[in-house]
Amino acid sequence: MEVRVQNVRKEFDRFPALHDVSLDIASGELIALLGPSGSGKTTLLRLIAGLERPTAGRIFFGDEDASEKSVQERNIGFVFQHYALFRHMTILENVSFGLEVRPRSNRPPKAEIRRRARELLDLVQLSGLEKRYPSQLSGGQRQRVALARALAIEPRVLLLDEPFGALDAQVRRELRKWLREIHDRTGHTTVFVTHDQEEALELADRLCVMSQGKIEQVGTPDTVYDQPQSPFVFGFIGESSVLPVNIERGDIWLGDRPVGISSPGATGTARLFFRPHDIELVEGDAALSGVVASSRRVGGTRRVELDIGGAAHRVEIDLPFDHPAGERSQISFRPKRWKLFPAA
């Protein structure tokens, strides 16, 4: 089922949480809404679910306008950050709930409901725990029950609100892989909210990066990572350093030194963005040159903080871990890949 969000605006007590947001979600894709807290990503998810009403704009499920439909009518599967399992029901009763509350006319017989619930528990690898209560399960198990419960109603769209947010790193990584497998097997159109870029980059077909109630960029993980369209995306996805620069006849200058890179056609002041690992060490004058302020080992590389132009600017670059640079040594480098954005 494809989902189209069209010029949706949402205000809470006159305070806008979403400004005029539009997003097309393809059928069967796994898309991540990624952003810092307060960016409106959860609000957008809840609007798609029908748990909130838009102040303006429309939401389509396929060709059908779902904007006025209640959450029950939309037939979505929603997984909450804190699971929201019914604590007085067993695991099997939790998973069966969505089928048991159906009107008699399209409610499957009891034995059929149990059979389907068991099948789903099998899918989420929790067979044997049917009689347990939610409080007797670990966080990761609870979240899998929550997913099985959401899948039981054969939803048109699966919506997950920070599904792994309350779990520890190890369990989170396992569940991430596992969710991807389930998605590939069941083929549900899936939207999930996260503030964890690693999670989004690894799991999603496409990312929708949000900030302050607006969509900054939508694209595949590679596009968003390699071709950020705004300073926010550059800074939020992956690591980055920023320098205020001047451009004269296409050449980029930091203060009174040329950086050694050029951007034909550009002029005036700008901000230069680059990633710590996208640099090359060079000899000579036409380069950024700084003094090592601190360095630490990160995996197979050495992350170095450089003071450039006295202590006016501080940037981070990656060096090979066996690079001889120590405290206070001078290093010259040039960004290999970079992007200019207008000065703030």
Partner: protein, 289 residues
Amino acid sequence: MAANSRVRRLTSPTNEPVYVRWILIIVGLLFMALFLVLPVVAVFSEALRQGIGVYFQSLMQPDALSAIRLTLLVAAIAVPLNVVFGVAASWAIAKFEFKGKAFLTTLIDLPFSVSPVISGLVYVLLFGSGSVLGPWLRSYNIEILFAVPGIVLATIFVTFPFVARELIPLMQDQGSGDEEAALSLGASGWQTFWRVTLPNIKWGLLYGVLLCNARAMGEFGAVAVVSGKIRGQTTTMPLQVEMFYNEYQSTAAFALASLLALLALVTLVLKTALEWRFGDELAATGRGH
């Protein structure tokens, strides 16, 4: 020196010396015996002073019986109504945001902060012969004051906060995540209430009902003002106790009082049992998040 420091290490810093502990325990026990146990024992021993036969005889006299009946009737009306109001009010306060919410919360506590006598007087002012409503209702043959409806109204007013006060913090703590989950799974509003909300609050609700019931049966001040104390018609158990006592029928007074004391004891036992059960459930809720 070495032994000394070892002893110090073994005693926990929050532990007091033995004699201090005993003094505190004895003071506490004495206080309880004097102010809590002694009165209850006195009530039962006074009631049974002339033997169990006289005890039951005095409970069987028509005035006592009608007082018991009236008290049960008033509680049977007031408690269910307060359950409905209490659940509705706490649902609204805990699960929704609206203007005037803080005011409503304060209003629910009003009966706790106002003297019961004043609560009764309010109804006298509303429905008395000097009021606008009273004579108008009387022209339709509806008696509120000095009749059962007045007693019920005053009791409802006095016992209003018990259920709501018990449920509001519980429901606020639980939030509306479970309800949203139920709705997203296709449940209707009613199904969500009966299958999810109510089971989540059942122990708290039961606890509130018990307290509400104890107060409804024991209320004196507000009921005394509106009842008119018509023998055999508008005297509840607490009022009848006072009447017997003023008429020097002390065995009858204490016999009736012993029933109320028994009610209190049963409520206490149930309350403790529930706290035991309910505490578990609350802890489970805490673990669930």
